[in-house]
């Protein structure tokens, strides 16, 4: 029988390393996916995954007071991703070549890409979306990604970002308004 997250967290706080390994196994894909969406390349996503769990481990003594482990771990990953976004701002991460992706070129828009032309079009669309997202301040960008890409609810995002739900709604509205203007041609 599969253990629940609270059971694993309890065992982890009691000093069970297997429970920690299981938590890593259950959350690493979710964190990688989120970090990749925010940062746009494998290397940074990998750094976020590793650093997030190392930080979770270091804060294991605080876990007894944590009510929602998912929000806790996503918050750590999100905050680290925001730090990396700010750090990378100075480095021109977005490629000028529309056929190339920032970082290591691994992104494809759909799994059923069949022809080079479709592949090219998908990459160009992905690049357009990323450019549009990169124009947003980090918290607006992450709010949009958490809500519209990762599927978190507004109360969950408020818990993750440690802000009022009204702020989440406001950030999401502003982000969507900006993105609609930038991606107007694609949306028509």
């Amino acid at each position: 029988m599969t253990e629940t997250i609270p059971e694993l967290v309890k065992r982890f706080t009691e000093g069970d390393s297997d429970a920690f390994a299981e938590l890593v196994s259950r959350y690493q894909k979710k964190i990688y996916h989120l970090a990749y969406q925010i940062l746009g390349n494998h290397l940074d996503a990998d750094e976020v995954v590793q650093e997030s769990f190392v930080r979770v481990y270091r804060k294991r003594k605080d876990l007894a007071r944590v009510t929602n482990f998912t929000s806790f771990v996503i918050r750590i990953a999100t905050n680290y991703s925001i730090d990396l976004v700010r750090k990378r701002r100075g480095h021109n991460q977005v490629s000028s070549d529309p056929t190339l992706m920032p970082g290591d070129v691994q992104v494809e828009l759909s799994k059923n890409v069949s022809t080079p032309r479709e592949d090219f079009e998908n990459k160009r669309l992905m690049e357009e979306i990323r450019r549009a997202l990169d124009t947003l301040p980090p918290r607006q960008k992450i709010t949009a990604l958490l809500h519209d890409v990762e599927g978190y609810s507004k109360p969950e995002i408020a818990e993750i970002l440690e802000c009022p739900e009204a702020t989440v709604r406001s950030n999401l509205h502003i982000a969507r308004t900006k993105l609609k203007k930038i991606l107007k041609k694609r949306l028509s």
Partner: protein, 189 residues
């Protein structure tokens, strides 16, 4: 529903957060307002567009590899947190207070003997310096005697000749060329 009211509910409507009565009113408004309908459509299209991109899966072995790295950086680097409680450790050699006191006394005695030995060595060195100084004084007296024209010299002419020869050889480098005359000078075959 007015356009202003619809716009305030647009995000919630697009995110399926309205109650059924609000949804009905919104749908009714969309039938009669092109601007709000366009806005609503573009919001749905944006949500669709953002959710379209897929993050590529890394290599199959990546997840095991990254789990190992995380455990190495956390659990294995602070293994005392997860250490199994083992049997009580036996008292070490230096754990007894008697042993520690004995070792302290022994160390003090060793330092004392070392100090005494060094002091004696220092006295021996002083004696050797005094003897050297005495030898130098005696040597200078002998040189003065050699150089004097006194009748009462203790050296015979042969002795003086040999000594002069030795001094010549041990003199400036230019004198070393006379080594062939060594036997003549010293009288030694």
């Amino acid at each position: 529903m007015t356009c202003r009211t619809f716009q305030s509910l647009l995000e919630s409507f697009a995110d399926n957060e309205l109650d059924p009565s609000q949804v009905a009113q919104a749908r009714e408004h969309l039938k009669s307002c092109d601007i709000c309908r366009e806005e609503y459509t573009s919001t749905l299209a944006l949500k669709q567009l953002l959710s379209t991109p897929t993050v590529p899966d890394p290599d199959p072995g990546y997840w095991d590899e990254v789990t190992d790295l995380i455990l190495a950086r956390s659990v294995r680097s602070t293994s005392e947190y997860f250490r199994e409680p083992g049997p009580a450790a036996r008292p070490g050699l230096f754990d007894s207070s008697l042993t520690r006191a004995t070792l302290s006394v022994a160390a003090s005695l060793a330092i004392l003997f070392m100090a005494l030995f060094l002091g004696e060595t220092h006295e021996s060195q002083a004696d050797r310096i005094a003897m050297t100084e005495q030898a130098m004084i005696e040597t200078s007296s002998m040189v003065a005697l050699i150089n004097s024209d006194s009748e009462e010299t203790m050296w015979t002419p042969e002795d003086q000749q040999r000594l002069t020869g030795c001094l010549t050889i041990m003199g400036p480098p230019g004198m070393m060329g006379r080594l062939t005359d060594l036997s003549d000078l010293t009288g030694v075959e």
